[in-house]
């Protein structure tokens, strides 16, 4: 049996030095990504629907409401990641369900950032 064959057997039986780690932190990161994408969609649509909300999102005059939308999105994403990490860090959960939930949130986030959709909520002039 060749050396390569032995090494191949080693990997196929999981004989690498790294200890098995819990999937909880990955579940937290995947869910938080979905929350972040959804938050971007929500802030985009709310900014379009309400002039006063858009004004509050204008953290920087040169950038306009996009400064607040992106800033709030990053805050929501990081805070949700931290909270979910604390909840899931030691749990032996699986990522499949988290990915499904996250993909739904991402899909909603993309829809809410789609101009044809969010412009439906623009106040009539």
């Amino acid at each position: 049996m060749s050396r390569d064959r032995l090494d191949s057997d080693a990997t196929s039986t999981g004989d690498l030095e790294a200890p098995d780690k819990p999937e909880g932190p990955i579940v937290a990161a995947v869910l938080a990504a979905g929350v972040g994408c959804f938050a971007m969609g929500v802030f985009t649509t709310l900014g379009e629907a309400s002039t006063s909300f858009a004004d509050r999102l204008t953290w920087n005059e040169d950038v306009g409401p996009l400064s607040g939308k992106t800033g709030m999105t990053i805050i929501v994403w990081l805070v949700s990641w931290a909270v979910l990490y604390v909840i899931f860090r030691n749990r032996q959960t699986e990522t499949r369900q988290a990915l499904t939930i996250s993909l739904v949130l991402m899909g909603l986030g993309v829809l809410l950032t789609f101009p044809t959709f969010f412009q439906l909520f623009a106040p009539s002039e």
Binding site: S8, S12, I26, A33, C37, M40, T73, T95, V110, T113
Partner: protein, 170 residues
Amino acid sequence: MHFTDREWWTLIHGMVFGAVFLLAFAGGLAELFSLRPGQLTARGVRERMVRLRIGTVAMAIAAWGTVITGTWIVYPWYRDPAPDSPKSTLLADPNTADWHEFGMEWKEHIAWLSPILATTVAFIVVYYGTNLIRHDRVRRTAMTLLVLSFVLAAVAGAFGAFITKAAPVS
């Protein structure tokens, strides 16, 4: 041949960070795809993990670099209220107004989803390391998020290229 400061920043935003992002995505996807039991030696896995960590972290940094320079440096020039700014130029002609009202409106928002997903992939790779080869569902999750990050960036990048063609920041 001469570029203005603004043209340099649009190049850095779109081409420098964009090229690193594309390169890191292609490498990261290939490495993740082939990270399966029985296909690699144990030594090969360890070497591959180093490249995968560097690639996914570089992709996340490039994605953040793209959106930060785009939003905070290039975008204010684009949306300047002056009549000769790219936004004013596009909106002045009904034939080009959609490049702003649809293209730019979507690009400026959807682009920010890409670094969030790229960072998640980088975290998974750095945290889980060689565990990825033993847990196929996690590897597939990372690949799914990596591809989504690229698709979202590609939508934003394509609109960016078309808008720059129609009304460049100069």
